[in-house]
Symmetry: C2
Subunit: 324 residues, 2 copies
């Protein structure tokens, strides 16, 4: 399938595997690249810039297809050495970067100066318009359904995608709430040039997380997520469990981050993904749990999606009376 | 365009105009019927069953196409005489009814016994499954984006529609967040057999509401709604204004319905639609405000949507390499 996105990034399918902290490692990224997707290693999953260089090299041993790196800029008291990570990305000859978070300008300028294509992930049309004005090459726009941080506007993809298309000229990837061919074709109908998937890729054979986590995603339905940290204006969609419910209850009663710090510290995604103890930690998962029913290989997943997308498009053509 | 929905209800387009309190009157319903949609008069907009009989007759003077009636069952201390409204609907020879709200069983049984086709509107997959088991003919499933009552699960259409399709056998109409051909084709891609629109029909020439309200919807964007009554587990998506913000603030500070009663009483949709004073009342509007940019006639709207749907389907076919 050819879209502005596949042309821009020179990949086979209009599908990205966006940056996933603690999940976006060599095995999964290489599998997605081999399957014809644009996949992004998660830079900050690596404890140091040197480790990122090694992970890039390790990914290259597993695929000769192009892949990218995600760099997420979050406001923290002691920020990671973003510049050094950026330097590693550029020096490794990576040609596609996914930025996320606030103020990507400095990074965008440097990446662009070195011929690296930038796709900026954001959750609001106005942020996308700003990023376009900074010169990014494409936008990944993330709807309310997504795992992780959907922002505070609560605009789902069905609205967010066409609203973004109405304001943007550059290619747009629809993110959040998509886990199968139906979502892919829907996003394309809404005007997007491609899709991003996160949760769906987590529940694949090559995803380097505990089987219990994958199985929890298969067992979960569309209601198996919680939005926490809303009261702190740092909303995060996580898998619903006793811990997420406790956090919500504390927030409801006026608690601050200090009041939940102990609950969420040492019990974030990284640990759950390693131990598989899905009941006792906060971990990212999107509403797509309601659409995820198996744990295929990445190759099987993508082959199935693209085949079913063709079938859906054929069915739409028949509905419209277009000769198929 | 032929779908299971158009076949079941024998209408030209897979589009419904669902029941809208204070909006679903003869002029708009007849216009939508004449344009080939299945439109539903709002039964309870009429103060008495006798008035509903007159409104049905008035609609028939404006169209010879079939149309339906919506009956919304809400738990109230002094319920309207639902049985009498139902009797009027059956005796008038109406052949399609949209039910909404709780416990439609008694109504469904009676309608079915009289050959009236029933489409039940609900906001959750489990409610849809229940309604199917009660024998309704079709489901209208309403996502988080919708105007009015989206329920408390917050599941948007991108997830809700395919999740519903996975559990239901009867035709499904996707409701909420759809206002143009992009949404129509997206819903069909997600598996729906048709779509419902509310806000989009409000902002048409034939909609019998004040021009200011229509213009406010054109001027609004996707962020111009508020979810109120969440703390009372009776969430309602309304147009964002000073009143809705006040209600939210009161709720945030632990206020109950008693604390907002005066704010919302005498300032509900019906009055705003009549006076056009959009700043000083609570009125229904969906996130589709971000996609509504004009006030066409219903005929222009539907002709444009169906033409653009064909174009989008043609574009998808070209993307997939299907001969167009």
């Amino acid at each position: 399938m050819k879209t502005r996105f596949t042309e821009l990034f020179d990949v086979e399918h209009p599908i990205t595997l966006g940056g996933m902290q603690a999940v976006g490692r060599a095995e999964l990224i290489a599998a997605a690249a081999n399957a014809g997707c644009l996949a992004f290693l998660s830079a900050l999953t690596q404890p140091t810039p040197e480790d990122l260089a090694k992970e890039i090299a390790r990914t290259r041993e597993l695929t000769d297809k192009p892949f990218g790196v995600n760099i997420t800029i979050l406001p923290t008291i002691t920020p990671p050495p973003y510049d050094e990570y950026r330097r590693v990305i550029i020096e490794a000859g990576i040609t596609a970067v996914e930025t996320a978070g606030s103020n990507p300008k400095e990074h965008v300028d440097d990446f662009k100066a070195h011929g690296v294509k930038v796709i900026h992930k954001c959750v609001a049309v106005r942020h996308a318009v700003k990023a376009q004005s900074l010169g990014v090459d494409a936008i990944s726009i993330d709807g309310f359904e997504c795992a992780g941080h959907p922002g505070e506007d609560d605009i789902p993809g069905l609205i967010l995608i066409p609203a973004a298309m109405d304001k943007l000229d550059i290619p747009v990837v629809a993110s959040g709430g998509i886990a199968d061919a139906r979502g892919l074709v829907a996003a394309l109908a809404l005007g997007a040039d491609g899709i991003n998937m996160g949760s769906r890729f987590m529940a694949t054979q090559e995803s380097y997380i505990h089987e219990n986590v994958k199985q929890a995603m298969v067992d979960g339905d569309e209601r198996s997520t919680d939005l926490i940290f809303r009261t702190m204006r740092n909303s995060a969609r996580v898998a619903k469990n006793a811990i997420s419910q406790q956090v919500r209850e504390i927030e409801k009663n006026g608690g601050t981050f200090e009041d939940v710090r102990e609950l969420v510290a040492g019990a974030r995604g990284r640990e759950v993904y390693a131990t598989g103890d899905t009941d006792h930690g906060i971990w990212w998962a999107g509403m797509t749990q309601g659409l995820i029913n198996d744990i295929p290989t990445v190759a099987e997943l993508i082959e199935r999606m693209m085949r079913e997308a063709d079938e859906i498009i054929g069915r739409l053509g028949a509905l419209a009376g277009t000769p198929a």
